[in-house]
Amino acid sequence: MKVLVPVKRVIDYNVKVRVKADQTGVELANVKMSMNPFDEISVEEAIRLKEAGTASEVIAVSLGVQQCQETIRTALAMGADRGIHVLHDGDLEPLAVAKMLKAVVEKEQPQLVILGKQAIDDDANQTGQMLAALLGWGQATFASKIEMGSGEAKVTREIDGGLETITVKLPAIVTTDLRLNEPRYASLPNIMKAKKKPIDQMSPADLGVDPAPRLETLKVEEPAKREAGVKVADVAELVSKLRNEAKVI
């Protein structure tokens, strides 16, 4: 069984983002970029399926600027077999990404596509569900446990009130939640080996998809600032302030 793992290059989760002064977006120049944390979990899960003998090949795919190749190399160093890079310089929205991934899926014929539940830059949480819709496949979102059966997968999902378990027929889409696994670090020898693994490059046009955004971003602003608070000396002062000043208890 082939497993396809889409991975996104995003601002590193530890970076405090800065909004550009002209309000056109956030500052991306000279900022540390990394693989989206949820996608690391997807790659890890795919590799575990391979180690368990369930998956025969793991393909990492990324869409965007030339540097997305670094993100694919990271996935290859973790243990993915080969990469696909769809080169595009402009903004990509989840719908366009889902359409391109659909074309890749039709070409590669994986039985399972594992995506992160959301990217920490646009916080959209859409691509996996959209890809499932376009392919007419079942979806198991926010997965915290995956058990592969014959012709189906049993997936435990994180929902608001606790956990829910569903079975989904293969081929299927799974999106990962934080608790699915703990991603491994790539070792130096594996990073060296990953440099020899192949990455195919293509364009949105090769996949027959128009990547133009549907939404127009009018402006990006800083969120409202909180006023500076005060330090209290002890619990008695805290309770008194909450009762008499803030009047919240």
Binding site: I11, N14, V17, V26, E93, P94, L95, K117, I120, D122, D123, A124, N125, Q126, T127, G128, Q129, M130, L131, A133, W137, G138, Q139, A140, T141, S144, E158, I159, D160, G161, G162, L163, E164, T165, I166, V168, K169, A172, P213, R214, L215, E216, T217, L218, K219, V220, E221, P223, R226, G229, V230, K231, V232, V235, L238, V239, L242, A246, V248, I249
Partner: protein, 311 residues
């Protein structure tokens, strides 16, 4: 202009998050209809009809909607969407699962977790874990939107008298089946709608120590939350998690105990009205957003706080 709100419900009651989505729908303007897709869900449809501001309830009752599986619910929403300019759902785990599937089937780009309505085409939404706010304009024929519930007041659950119309079911897609659920049982208010939330982090050291927070929570009528570190360490179940990857809360009072205040956590609580931080590390980033900060050992401060609330 007319707006369809996809209701989240358990077949007998409407989930509170739906009421916040109805308010967002009212701000867009036009008639507001609510879709209740369920099985044995007449009570939920009647409850939806009583929500203030709702003009019509569409009720599809069939076995395939019993558990809200996205593969079955999405075609139902899509079949009805052509009559509406906007389709909204609360940005809960249910809405986030179903709506992008609807959007892709309609070939439109969804707008996730809006926090404000500017006009019928223009919306504000947080990006980068709430560290930036984007104003976006959609030119899609139907706007598919999920609503950040803490950013909109709840519509009154009583006072409306909408007509309930039956909607045709679309059949079982046969792609997924429901096995079961394990829900956390709690006597306390639900985290996302609580007026007061008290959360613990890694500093709590173990799950037993959360009893200290529960004691304070019971005295305040508060919900108990947690940081990702506390959840990952197994102190509490994952549905306690407040943050970018957990729940977003905006209570009147948020008390962060033994929580450093990582970006990921702040994304889930920084819109709270008053924030209190109790932490022994005076350099902890949580103090930068706290209205009242107490630098103290939580194992002394929390029992003291509990006692002070008795007075």
């Amino acid at each position: 202009m007319s707006v369809l709100v996809v209701a989240e419900h358990d077949n007998s009651e409407i989930a509170p998050a739906t009421l916040n989505a109805v308010t967002a729908a009212s701000q867009i303007g036009g008639d507001v209809a609510v879709l209740v897709g369920g099985s044995g869900s007449a009570a939920a449809a009647e409850a939806a009809a009583k929500i203030a501001g709702v003009a019509k309830v569409l009720h599809a009752d069939a076995a395939e909607y019993a558990n809200g599986l996205a593969e079955n619910v999405a075609p139902l929403v899509v079949a009805l969407a052509s009559g509406y300019s906007h389709v909204l759902a609360p940005a809960t785990s249910y809405g986030k699962n179903v709506m992008p599937r609807v959007a892709a089937l309609l070939d439109v780009q969804q707008i996730s977790e809006i926090s404000a309505v500017v006009d019928a085409d223009t919306f504000v939404r947080p990006i980068y874990a709430g560290n930036a706010m984007a104003t976006v304009k959609s030119s899609d024929a139907v706007k598919v939107i999920t609503v950040r519930t803490t950013a909109f007041d709840a519509a009154a659950a009583e006072g409306g008298s909408a007509a309930v119309e039956a909607a045709d079911a679309k059949g079982d897609a046969g792609l997924t089946s429901y096995v079961g659920a394990e829900l956390s049982s709690s006597e306390r208010p639900e985290l996302t709608s609580a007026k007061i939330v008290i959360s613990g982090g890694r500093g709590m050291q173990n799950g037993d120590n959360f009893k200290m927070l529960e004691e304070v929570a019971d005295k305040l009528g508060a919900a108990v939350g947690a940081s990702r570190a506390a959840v990952d360490a197994g102190f509490v179940p994952n549905d306690y998690q407040v943050g970018q990857t957990g729940k977003v809360v905006a209570p009147e009072l948020y008390v962060a105990v033994g929580i450093s205040g990582a970006i990921q956590h702040l994304a889930g609580m920084k819109d709270s009205k008053v924030i209190v931080a109790i932490n022994k590390d005076e350099e902890a980033p949580i103090f930068q957003v706290a209205d009242y900060g107490l630098v103290a050992d939580l194992f002394e401060a929390v029992p003291e706080l509990s006692k002070a609330l008795d007075d």
